[in-house]
């Protein structure tokens, strides 16, 4: 039988048995609603909590090196070879600078910035103006006395930089405030670096990435280097994730198991009611495999309908209550599990239907 014909037959079979079909759809929809409003809501909350922890910088590794330690900008080339790193940049020690127009103005620290991806800080890859430029945070601009975010600054060493834009100060640079950075796209690698910031791909990679970064620092005096990580926060994150995840998985499995058993019972009843139908099909040439395929296709269609109803209702309820939604990944995974559960539950009734002798079934009154 062709696939189109199989789907048409499955749809016709489902509509010819409206009561068990509707019950099956409601079972799957109910299961989905139960999962989404319990575990799904927990997952949504978990994602919020973890997001908050992540915002606190769980993945950040900060290396501080005294000038005499001998840490240079070429360390970034070596760090680029390490797996599990999302971003890295180096910063020189601070030099005081003032608004060029106000030489006696407030002194604000300025640092040279090294790295290939400074766009993360709001520094464009290509400088908008020729010559040396600087980028400052709003706080720094205010202290320079440049409320219009324009002008130039001069350092205590006599270098002058035009102000090219505002920095987006991430959490890991908040400690530098007021922040003013001078990007060094043409750095030779021999420039001295005072602070190195490395962000790991995942919180659980903080410890191994820290070890790897330490191994490639190539400093003259390791005793003048200190490393600060958020490993404790990362561990807390892992504990939160494990605790909530274990609870959520357990609840989903219980709900899936109950639904699977109920769907199996319904389909067994449906198979028993339709003995004559299956007998006729077998007598007329339907193979056992086709009977199994027909019931499984029918179940998949009912499960899919139930899923759509369940997901729509769940999201409506979550939205109405202002609760966190679990997101696409969780919803897709749960949907696949639900359809898989329904198909497994349908397999035994389908095999029973397929194993019966056609003519004995046809003779059922």
């Amino acid at each position: 039988m062709r696939v189109g014909a199989l789907i048409r037959e499955a749809r016709a079979s489902a509509t010819s048995q409206p009561v068990p079909s509707i019950i099956t759809i409601l079972m799957i929809a109910g299961m989905m609603i139960a999962v989404m409003l319990t575990t799904g809501r927990s997952v949504g909350a978990e994602q919020r909590v973890l997001g908050s922890i992540d915002d606190a910088g769980t993945r950040t590794i900060q290396v501080r090196a005294e000038v005499s330690a001998g840490l240079t900008a070429d360390v970034l080339d070596r760090i680029a070879e390490i797996d599990g790193i999302e971003w890295a940049a180096g910063f020189s020690s601070a030099t005081d600078a003032t608004n060029t127009a106000i030489p006696d103005g407030t002194r604000v620290p300025v640092r040279l910035a090294f790295g290939a991806h400074l766009e993360r800080l709001g520094i464009p890859e290509q400088s908008p103006v020729p010559g040396g430029v600087a980028y400052a945070s709003e706080v720094a601009f205010a202290q320079f006395g440049l409320p219009d975010v324009a002008g130039s600054i001069t350092t205590s060493t006599g270098s002058t930089y035009g102000m090219a834009g505002t920095l987006q100060t991430p959490d890991f640079l908040k400690g530098f405030e007021p922040v003013t950075l001078v990007p060094q796209p043409d750095a030779t690698g021999s420039e001295t670096v005072n602070v190195l910031v490395v962000i790991a791909d995942r919180p659980d990679l903080v410890a191994p990435v820290s070890d790897a970064v330490l191994s490639v620092l190539a400093v003259d005096d390791p005793t003048k280097v200190t490393i600060h990580t958020s490993e404790a926060l990362a561990q807390l994150r892992a504990i939160v994730q494990t605790q909530l995840g274990t609870f959520a998985r357990g609840l989903v499995l219980i709900i899936l198991a109950i639904t699977g058993i109920l769907v199996g019972i319904i389909l067994y009843g449906l198979v028993t009611l339709r003995r004559k139908d299956f007998g006729r099909r077998r007598a007329l040439g339907a193979t056992r495999l086709l009977i199994v395929g027909l019931l499984l296709t029918q179940t998949a269609m009912l499960a899919l309908t139930g899923l759509i109803v369940g997901i729509a209702v769940s999201f409506a309820v979550l939205l109405a209550n202002g609760d966190p939604s679990p997101g696409l990944e969780f919803t897709a995974a749960t949907s696949i599990l639900a359809i898989g559960t329904a198909l497994i539950a349908a397999l035994i009734p389908a095999l029973i239907a397929a194993r019966r002798e056609p003519i004995r079934e046809l003779r059922v009154p």
């Binding site: 010819s16 006729r280 099909r281 056992r288 495999l289 003519i359 046809l362």
Partner: protein
């Protein structure tokens, strides 16, 4: 006359302890012939028909189709043979009440993997030929018994089967409708197919080329 279907020493009984209904039964059915299986109730006429139609497995003996022993084949192969080479008319029509008339007629063609469009065209031709004057979308529950049996006949013929097996096809029909059904069976035999009819009707038996009593 070439032998299309043969029963060689067929033995069958329902259950292990029950005496066999058929024991070492043999017969040969030729192409282009219509054969009546007659006898009183309980003698195994329908059982024999279903054994010949590969719906029951004989406890001994074999069914041979066009020179090939087929009763011992795998279940899937026998199912395909039922769809491709056999046509069945059951006593109570055995239509699917949830499907339309045309869906019932085309059911066997779909198991063969034939195109739905071709099957529907052939089904409509057959419905016209047998005077089933109801909309094709109507359900079997909305037609008369005579029309239902003619629809079942259309379903059996839609695949132009090599062997047509009919189990008391006129049992519940008025004489006029019985004549239509018997004529259709005869016409199909005339195409070179083998037609085997289980019947209690002397008129139907008289219309056959051969009568085998059980």
């Amino acid at each position: 006359m070439e032998a299309v279907l043969q029963a060689r020493g067929l033995t069958f009984g329902y259950g292990h302890d029950a005496p066999p209904i058929l024991e070492s039964w043999s017969a040969t059915f030729g192409g282009g012939a219509m054969t009546a299986l007659t006898g009183s109730s309980g003698r195994g006429k329908s059982t024999l028909l279903y054994l010949l139609g590969l719906m029951l497995q004989p406890t001994a003996g074999e069914v041979v189709l066009d020179g090939t022993a087929v009763s011992g084949l795998k279940d899937a192969t026998k199912a395909r043979l039922r769809a491709e080479r056999f046509g069945f008319v059951f006593q109570d029509a055995a239509l699917d009440s949830s499907r339309s008339v045309i869906d019932n007629v085309t059911e066997t063609a779909l198991y063969r993997g034939a195109s739905r469009r071709d099957a529907i065209a052939r089904g409509r031709d057959l419905l016209d030929r047998f005077g089933v004057d109801v909309p094709a979308a109507r359900r079997p529950g909305q037609v008369s018994g005579g029309q239902a049996q003619r629809i079942a006949l259309c379903r059996a013929l839609v695949s132009s089967p090599r062997v047509l097996l009919a189990d008391e096809p006129t049992g519940n029909l008025d004489p006029a409708t019985s004549d239509v059904v018997v004529r259709a069976l005869r016409d199909h035999a005339a195409t070179g197919a083998t037609v085997i009819v289980v019947t209690h009707s002397p008129d139907v038996a008289a219309a056959c080329d051969e009568e085998i009593g059980l």
